[in-house]
Structures are given as C-alpha cells and as structure tokens.
C-alpha cells in the first residue's frame, strides 16, 4: 500500500497542533502527593538564602511548633458531620460560637464523626502557633472519620475571628463547616456585643444562620458592637440604615480614633471582619449585609440601598505606632496576580498566575524569624481577589501608590480589586509554614495559593490525593 503524501502532511500538521498541547498537559500533572517544601519557586525577597531546605535533615517540624502556655484552659468539643450536602459542627451550621477572654488558653478538640473526605479547623485571623493552623497537608493531616485532633493556642489577640475547615475548603466552607470565634478583652468591650456571621447557603444570605431580617435583643440608647464576619467567597458591602456608626475594628484589630460616619458602606471582603459600633436610635437601625440580609437593632426601621460612598480605611482614624519600621525591611516580595490559558494538573483552562507562574510554579516566600517583610500585592487578573496570609497580620502601607494616613490598618484578609495594587508590611514573628492564598476558595483550588516558608522549618505532612490532603 502506498502512503499518500497528502496523508503524511495531514498527520504532520496534526502533530504540530496537538503535540505541544499534549506536552503542556502532561507537564502540568501534579504528583499523587508532594511536600510544600518542594513546591514553588524559591523567592528570598532579596536576602541571602539560608538553609531552609530539608534535604540536610535539620529543622523544626511544624508539628513541634506548639503552644507553650498551659492554663487557664477553655475546652471545646466540636463534632463535624456531613448531612446530605450540608456540613455541621455539633449539629449546627454555623457551628457554635466560641467566646473566650484574652489570655485564656483555647483547646478545641475536633472529632470527625462523618465527613468522608476528612476535615480540619483553621482559626482565621488568629495568629496561632503553626501546629494549630489547621491546613491539611501543611500543618496536619486531615482528620479522617472516627479521628480527632486537638488545637491549642493562647488567645493573645482581641477581636472577631472565625474558624473553618481547611480540607477541601472550597466545598466544606461553602456548605457550612465554619463558625465564629470572638476574643474579648477582660471586662468586655463596653457595649452590647452582637456577632453577625454572614454566610450564603444555597444562594440565600443568612446572618447567624437566619435569612432576611435578624432581630437583635437591644433597646434604644443602647451602645452595640456588631461583629460582621464575611464567610463567603467575595466582598460584601455593609452599611447602616437609620444611624451613624463607627468602624471600630478591622480583621480583629482595633481601629485608632474611629470617627462617626454615616451614609457610607464598609466593604468586608471574603474572610474579613468588620466591627461596627453604634448607639441604637429611638427609631431603630439596621445593619445591611449587602442589602439581602440585615441585623435589626431596636425598632423596625426602613431599609436603605447601598450608599454611593465606600469607607476607605487608608485614611480613616488616627495614625499610631505600628511597632516596627517598614523602611527597614530586609525582605521585599511581589505577589502579582495574573491570568492566562494553560493547564493545571492536566486540566485546560484560563488559570490564575502568581508572578507569572501557574500552579505549582508559584512563589515560595522564604523568611527568617525576626525579618521585616514588605509585600507588594498587585492584581492584573481581571477579577477581585481577597488575599489571606495565615499566621500574621500585615499593615497596609499604600494603595495604588497613595500612602496610608489613617489608623494603622492591620489586615489578614485584604480586598485586592482588578487593576489595583497594595503594599503591606509585617514582622516575621511566627515561625512555621503558612499558606498565603486567595480566600475566594474556588480560586485557591484553581491554583491561587502560595506559601510563606520560615528558614529551618520543615513539615512531615504531604499534600495530594494519595496523602488524603487537599487544603484548597
């Protein structure tokens, strides 16, 4: 049989088109399990590379970085279950609110009763010792059905935080494996303390699990602190109908010199918290959660639509000492988010990139304990990203080149819209391996997940389906 030249040309042309795609697809496949210590492009932020690698066999395991305080203990048991599509803790979603006083040692035992893929608890915004951070495959193994894990950390900070699973989090958090944790100063906050944990279940926005209007048991003249927690995947505007208010805390840090404002929205990004304080007027007030749910304070009052103005924390409140000098930074990192077509773990798509690399070729930001770190977070990807660094609070230095002039603006979850740039700084004061990712959790699952690695810290845990750990 004679092979027709035309056929040969056609086969050749096919190979020219498909072979590069097949090669890219194959090259993108992730191993069945891998260590985050081997993952990513090492970035030392301009400092000399110390011995952060584990090949030399030295280093502290993340599991050994534990809380050293021993009392007084607040012990909580949380039983995780999967019931249909919904995840619950002690039978409810959101799970029970954990309320502790500053200085108490929190001990939470997670028991996985029936979450088939395993579960963990991450303490969002609480700068816990690394072993208690709850990231499956990085700081622990996912807790299998029938297993348990105890988290121990001292409540050093004061403020509004939340907890959620960091195993298959894009699915488990959306479907309810979460709850609030509030740390109060001894003696309370000098106001009636109301938590408003917002979560969307099956398309319906709820406040503390309740759709529509949620009444709070407060009366006129009463001073109220409303702790808004956004547990969803995107930014939510919050505003107050019928009253002025003050933004008294952001992400669990008090704002210095918060002035009263009105007819202005506060943007609470995914994972972030905002504490609003107001005195209930005789006619009542409403804290509007994006306009589709509300906390009703006092008498029933009229809802309002979103104010045109949005409060800018960059210039809100009064400046104060931040405790370190960002100009003396010895590590400078870029976290530039982009997007382009390609393959991630064999799947074609238009995927996120960090500093031009697609997962797993994303940065491994290397620091040493005691460093002062500056990070420039820039978004050129077309969509907003709520960026969340574990284990640390960073202070915002500038936004689109405009320097901060207000109260120190400490964040753990920062809204970075498309086309915008923030510069933040933090002290590397909490050794460990900390993920630094987008808190639109499906985005994290699509590869928008890097990590901060302290020199000399190692992890015995592995990420990947073979290890049973899927932190995103």
């Amino acid at each position: 049989m004679r092979v027709r030249p035309r056929f040969v040309i056609a086969v050749g042309a096919t190979l020219v088109v498909l072979a590069p795609l097949a090669w890219l697809q194959q090259a993108s496949l992730l191993p069945g399990s891998y260590s985050v210590m081997d993952m990513g492009v090492v970035d030392t932020g301009g400092a000399a590379l110390g011995h952060h690698r584990h090949e030399d066999g030295v280093g502290r395991g993340v599991d050994t970085i534990v809380e050293t305080a021993t009392d007084p203990v607040v012990h909580v048991e949380l039983a995780a279950r999967k019931d249909g599509d919904r995840y619950t803790l002690n039978g409810t979603s959101p799970g029970p609110e954990i309320r502790v006083e500053q200085g108490q040692l929190v001990e939470v035992r997670l028991v996985n009763e029936s979450v088939p893929d395993g579960a963990t608890l991450h303490w969002h915004g609480v700068d816990v010792p690394n072993s208690a951070d709850g990231v499956a495959g990085v700081t622990q193994d996912a807790v299998p059905v029938g297993g348990s894990f105890t988290y121990r950390f001292l409540a050093r900070q004061v403020g509004t935080f939340w907890y959620h699973s960091h195993q298959l989090s894009h699915e488990q958090v959306r479907n309810g494996l979460l709850g609030a944790i509030v740390i109060t100063p001894p003696g309370g906050v000098g106001a009636t303390d109301v938590t408003a944990l917002v979560h969307i279940y099956d398309g319906t926005r709820t406040v503390n699990g309740r759709a529509g209007d949620s009444p709070a048991a407060v009366g006129p003249g009463e001073r109220v602190r409303v702790r808004v927690v956004n547990t969803d995947e995107g930014p939510m505007p919050v505003w107050v109908s019928g009253s002025e208010f003050r933004l008294v805390a952001i992400d669990g840090t008090e704002v210095q010199g918060p002035t009263p404002v009105r007819d202005v929205a506060v943007l609470v990004t995914a994972g972030a918290r905002a504490d609003l304080e107001l005195v209930v007027p005789p006619g009542g007030a409403r804290v509007e959660m994006g306009g589709s749910a509300a906390l009703v304070l006092g008498a029933a009052s009229a809802r309002t639509s979103r104010p045109a103005r949005t409060l800018d924390p960059l210039s809100y409140g009064t400046p104060a000492d931040i405790g370190f000098d960002p100009a003396a930074a010895n590590r400078r990192f870029d976290y530039v988010i982009g997007r382009r077509p390609g393959f991630v773990d064999g799947w074609p798509g238009v995927w996120w990139t960090i500093n031009g690399g697609m997962f797993p070729d994303v940065p491994m930001f290397v620091v040493a304990e005691g460093d002062v770190v500056r990070m420039r977070i820039e978004n050129t990807s077309g969509e907003v990203h709520p960026m969340h660094l574990h284990g640390h609070h960073a202070v915002v230095l500038s936004h689109n080149g405009v320097a901060a002039t207000g109260s120190p603006w400490w964040v753990d979850s920062l809204d970075v819209p498309d086309g915008e740039m923030y510069e933040v700084a933090f002290r590397a004061d909490n050794p460990g391996i900390w993920v630094d990712h987008c808190h639109n959790l499906p985005h994290a699952a699509e590869g928008l997940m890097a990590h901060l690695m302290y020199e000399g810290v190692t992890t015995p845990y592995r990420v990947g389906h073979e290890a049973g750990n899927t932190p995103e």
Binding site: R4, R6, F7, I9, A10, V11, A13, T14, V17, L18, R174, V198, I200, Y201, D202, G203, T204, R205, N230, D232, E233, G234, P235, M236, P237, A270, G290, G291, S292, R339, P341, P348, G349, V350, G382, E383, V384, D418, N440, P442
Partner: protein
C-alpha cells in the same frame, strides 16, 4: 472525513446559537430576580449556588465558551488536515483564531469589549456556516477522485 468536518462545523454553529440563547436567559432571569427584590453583590455572585432561574445560562455560556467550543474548533482543524474540503483548513484556522479572540474578549473584564464579543460571535457563526457549506459540495483533490473511482 468530509462528513465529520461538516458535522463539526455545524456543531459550532449550533453551539454559538446556544451561547446567545443562554446569555439572554441569564440576563432575563437576573433582571426578573432583581425586580423581585433580589440583591446581587460579589459575595452572592461567587457563592456558586443557583439562586434564580436563568443563572444556569451564564454557567452554560462560560463552560461551553471556554472549553467545549475551543475543543470542537481544534477538532475541526485536525479533521480539516485530512478532509479534502475546499479551503477547509483555512476556514478551520480562521475559526480557531476567532474563537481564541472571543475567549480573550469574554474574560477581559472590560465592559466595552463586550460589544466586540457580541460582534465576533456573529463572525464565528458566519464562518462556521461557510465552512459547513464548503464541506457540503462535491469532493475535491486526488484522494477524492480515488474515492470516486473506488
């Protein structure tokens, strides 16, 4: 192979029609939902839950536009190398190019580019129709003549 080429080209025509219908369904559903008291913000939009009829429209539009249509266009191009369709490779190549532009416009997040997105959609529809029609005529080329003799 000519038949496969024709079927794939018509499949692109069909999928472009589905794209138009799906996005119209989404816009209509969204409008009705908002007029009925629904409030949309980024957190709700990102919640990945079906909170109004018509939302499925944007999901179909996104999945089909990003994955299915590019895959069919690529298949059409490969088939074109083997099928002796007059200008078959050229039309398939033009389709691959237009669809690449269309995906880029679709994810550009620059609202004014959506105007172009709508116009390029019609161009894809027309070129896919031309390609399908080109594969409907009599075979050409030596292989076709050999087929005819056989």
């Amino acid at each position: 192979m000519r038949t496969t080429y024709r079927v794939l080209a018509y499949l692109i025509v069909f999928l472009v029609v589905v794209q138009a219908a799906a996005i119209a369904y989404f816009i209509a559903g969204l409008g009705e939902w908002i007029m009925g008291g629904g409030v949309l913000d980024a957190a709700t939009m990102e919640s990945e839950s079906t909170f109004f009829p018509g939302l499925i429209g944007i999901i179909i539009h996104g999945m089909s536009g990003t994955y299915l249509i590019p895959a069919v266009a690529l298949a059409l191009l490969v088939v074109a190398f083997f099928a002796q369709v007059p200008r078959g490779v050229m039309w398939a190549g033009v389709l691959v190019g237009l669809i690449a532009v269309q995906v880029a416009l679709g994810i550009a997040h620059v609202p004014v580019l959506a105007l172009l997105h709508g116009i390029v959609a019609l161009a894809i529809l027309v070129v896919a129709l031309i390609a399908a029609r080109a594969a409907s005529g009599a075979p050409v080329g030596p292989a076709a003549r050999a087929d005819a003799v056989a």
